[in-house]
Structure formats: C-alpha cells, structure tokens
Symmetry: C2
Subunit: 326 residues, 2 copies
C-alpha cells in the first residue's frame, strides 16, 4: 500500500507544462469564494477535533469538457455518468468521512441515483387533497435519499464543487489539494473523474463558432499536462491517492493500471473495463492485485471498494505515525 516512491525529479517539462497550462487558462469564476469555503471546510474537519470525521476525502466525478471555440458551442466530452463518484461519496460519508465532491455539472449526484433520467416527474404525483405524494413503490428510497442528504448537508460533511471544462477542473483540483495539504496523511483523493487527455489551448482556440461552410474539418489537439504527478509531488504529497484506469480493451487494462501506479506514485489504481465497470474492479497496489466483484445486481460494488480503501487508508495513517516515531 505504500506509494511507489517518486523521489526522482519529474522531467522539468512536466512542471513547466503545468505552469504554462494555468497561465493560459481562463480563470475560475468565484475563485476566492471557493478557496474560502475550502479553507473553512478543511479547518472544521482537521484531525484532532474529537468526534470529527475519520478523514477528509476529495472525490472527483464525471467527465471534463474541452471547448473547441472560445464562445463555446462545440466541445469534446468524456463519457462519464458520475455514477461511480456519486455512489462512492455515499459510502465514504457512511464510513464517517467528510467529502469534497468535485463533480461535473449535471452528472449523477449522491443520493439521487434512484431518479429515472428523463422522468423526474414520474416519481411524484398529486394526492386527493393536491398534496405532493410519492407512490408506495418509491417511498422508502426517496425518503432515505432525502434524509441521508439532509444529514450530510446539516452536519457540514459534504462540500460540492462543480466544474464543466478541463480548465475549471484542474484549477479546482489545485485549489482543493493545496487546501488539503495541511491534513497530511489524513487526506485522501479518489480520482473517479474522466479527465480529458487532449485539449485545445485557449489562445489557439477559434473565437467564434467554427463555420461549416464546406469540406472536412481538421483539428489538432495538444496533450493535457499530467497533473496527478504535480499533485503527488508538490500540492499534497502525503495524501493517500486512489486513481482509476478505464479501458475498453481488456487486454491492456492491467498493464496500463500498473504503469499508472508507478508513473504517478499512486497508492492504489482501480482498474475497470467499460463493459462491466459496475460488476468488477481490480485494485492494483505495490503489494499486488485484489479483484472485487459485486454479489448481485442489487448491490453497489462501491460498498466493498470503499470499505477496503478506508482500511488501507487507516493502515497508511498508522504506518506514517510509526515512521515518524522511528
């Protein structure tokens, strides 16, 4: 469970690339307000406050977009419902964590997973006295959702930060991780978001909607800097880091997961295949691999996954205390 050591200096160009990315990106709106809410949240949940949460986890969820025009009409998107991130957030909260939920606007939200996608109003009806009702078949699920959600909000255990573009996402990630750095080993990151690998740098972008006057359209995209590297090295070096590797080709999945573990110094890489990501995942660590399968279609695989990660995180915290004492 120890992270693969990244004592070697990252290639200079990674840090330069990251700096160049942030310099050129359109600035996050309400940056100061976000930073202030983060500082307050982290301060409230810092280790040492008796009865407080067991840890703080930053869960990222949903896909980032790559705008193709500055006044954005078209963009490249990553398929990601946010199901994994939303379900995991519910189980982290259940396990006693405080959660910072960096999510794609419009993606699945914690406790809303029962909602049919396009038929919100099918869940409700008006009773005889025109009061709002939920049919018997839905009642328990809806009530549990409302009360769990309210509890998380009222106890100040859930902070939701939305993004849409790759620019917003990476700026949020930088703000959150630098705010969480003071938590040391008590902080955890759970990178379930589908982050764009390629993008159009802001200055290279067409100002207005690209014309479809005639002929094919050619596009050249640049690589997005690998920010996990920078996070692990500079922003929050002691945090427990869990990333995901999603592939459509099962033959390359585990190889890519092992490579990501080493390359970015992650504590755990959760490998999953698009075809069956709800049914099975493989947790890859420096100690080996563990396959997790859900028992039935009614279960959430995230229940087992988060249970195992919480234990690993706890062991890692204990180990770090021993390391300090020796």
């Amino acid at each position: 469970m120890d992270p693969v050591p990244t004592s070697a200096e990252p290639p200079r160009s990674s840090e330069d690339e990251a700096a160049a990315f942030f310099r050129a990106a359109p600035p996050l709106r309400d940056r100061d307000a976000v930073a202030a809410s983060l500082d307050a949240f982290v301060a409230r949940h810092s280790a040492g406050t008796g009865g407080g949460p067991v840890g703080v986890v930053c869960v990222t969820s949903g896909g980032t977009t790559v705008p193709l025009e500055q006044r954005c009409v078209r963009y490249i998107d990553n398929f990601s419902s946010g199901q994994r991130g939303a379900a995991s957030t519910e189980y982290f909260l259940k396990a006693g964590y405080a959660v910072i939920f960096i999510h794609r606007r419009g993606s699945k939200q914690p406790y809303c997973r029962f909602l049919p996608e396009d038929s919100f109003l099918d869940v409700f009806e008006l009773g005889e006295g025109s009061e709002i009702q939920v049919p018997e078949s839905h009642t328990t699920v809806v009530k549990t959702a409302i009360s769990s959600y309210r509890k998380a909000i009222d106890e100040g255990l859930l902070l939701k930060l939305p993004f849409t573009t790759i620019f917003e996402y990476l700026q949020l990630l930088q703000l959150v991780s630098t705010a969480m750095n003071c938590l040391g080993h008590h902080g955890m990151f759970y990178f379930a978001a589908a982050v764009s690998d390629f993008y159009v740098p802001w200055e290279s972008m067409a100002k207005h909607k690209i014309e479809s006057a005639g002929g094919p359209l050619n596009m050249q995209l640049s690589q997005v800097p690998k920010m996990l590297f920078i996070l692990r090295k500079h922003w929050a070096p002691k945090a427990f880091c869990v990333s995901f590797k999603l592939e459509t080709d099962p033959d390359i999945l585990l190889h890519k997961a092992e490579m990501a573990l080493r390359k970015y110094g992650m504590n755990v890489v959760v490998a999953n295949e698009l075809a069956n990501y709800k049914d099975v995942v493989v947790m890859v660590t420096s100690s080996g691999r563990k396959t997790v399968r859900r028992q039935s279609k009614e279960d959430d695989i995230e229940e087992q996954l988060i249970d195992l990660l919480v234990k690993m995180h706890s062991d890692n915290i204990t180990q770090s205390h021993s390391d300090q004492e020796t």
Copy 2:
C-alpha cells in the same frame, strides 16, 4: 409565411450523401417499437377527430453527440441545455397541440425547468411525520409542474423520444417525419436541437479508446449531410417547418438565417445569439422579419414565440385549403 419554393432539384449528391449516411450508421435500437408508437400517436391525433389537438408538432431539443471511438469514451458535443425545446413544448401543449419531443437524453424536460441543476434534493424535505414535503416557497411551482405533466401524459398528448448520438437523432427524425407525412399541412416541425455539423463516419472510427501515448492528436471530420433539405423535399413536404439559427457573432446572424430560409425551404427561421437567446429572437420569413423580446426576466420568450408560430401555422393551413379549392 410561404416556404421559399424548392422546386429546383437538390444537388444529386445530397440525396446520395444522406443515403450513404443511413447505410453506414449503427441501427437505432428498438426501431420497430419506436415506429409503432409513432404510428399510434399520429393516428390518434390525425386531423378530423373532433375535439382533438389543433395540430401535431415535432419539437427537437438538446445537442447531438459525435462519437470518436466505436466503444465510445470520447465524443464531440454541442452546447444545448434543451431549455428552448422544453419550454416550447410546454407552450405548444398549452396551445392545444400534441407534441412529439425528440430530445437529448439528460437534457431539460418539459415541466422540470424549476429543478435546480445539481440540487434536486434541496427541493424536498421530510416533515414531522416523515412525510415528503416541499417547502412553501416551491410548492406552487412543483404542484403545477406535476399536474401539467400528468395531464399531458394521461391525455396522450406528449410522446418523448430520446437520442444521444447524431446517428440516433437523424434516424429518429426520419422515422418521425415519414410518420407525420400523412398529417400534411397540419404537421409542424420545430427544430430547436443543436445538430452536429461534422462527424466521424462509423467505419472510419477507432474501435477502442484512442491512446494518449504521446504527441498531439489529429482528427479529420466529415460534414453531416443536410437532412432538413431531404425532410422538406421527400419525408414531409407539406409540414410547416421552423428551424433555428444560433450564432455567437451577431454580425453574421441574420445573413445566415436568411440563407438557411432559402436553402432549406423553411417557413420560419428563428435567429438567436448565444449571448442573449433567452431575451430576444428574430423570426425570419419570406415576408420579412419580426423581433420578439421578453418583457421581464420572469417571462419565457417562448410564450410569445409559440403564440406567433401557432397563428402562422393556422394561417398556413387555411391558405393550403384555399389553394386546394382554387
């Protein structure tokens, strides 16, 4: 209000392009079930059934996606919340139309516009006896939404057909328009969807997730065939057609709207600018232009727009009856 005549033969390549597109596209799932539900809907609402709707309108809404890989992880999307299409559907229903709502999965739905995007559960709470309640401030809006929605569904006036990709969208459009052809001039099309101009033909598409191993990514996209041309010429030649032109550059907007009116033989092109599409639109017809502005931020501009279109459609039906008699 007469459509600009398209008696000239379309360039042969348009029909060939369209045919090639459909031959190569992955087939729509449940095509037969969709076709059957369409035939039943149209038959139920055909002109002549006393007390029936004043007409049938097909409203298209939301953006289409262009998959970049066959086992789709990445895709190009068009920014479109579906707000215009959803609001317009509510006003068409209010005006007595039956509506076929071809919409992007996950986009704004009729009567759900009050829902805060990411905070569905903020709208509800549990009362003292654990019954589900809506805070006073929201009650009227939620109840109106539920009852209006129920009415449309119970009276069989709203048929919802979802799409995600450009392939699904154009196949649905073809099915719907050929089913509506029997309505002649009583049918209307309201093309509010943001349809991709460029796409990757299915056979050219990478089978698996495109690797981000190294260096920039180059993409070449083909033009999507102009299906409005084919719809106006072959699928539903007598229908009243309203299309939208959205631009980010106000200097070219009206010129492009006039060109679209002529090129595709539309009855009306609604021109709007991304920066202020909720506040002002310009209706462009062969008789001239009409600017529509909303009176206040509480109003929906769609209320006036649909009111004007319903009158234009009605005049068009009357005119077509006179034409037949002379």
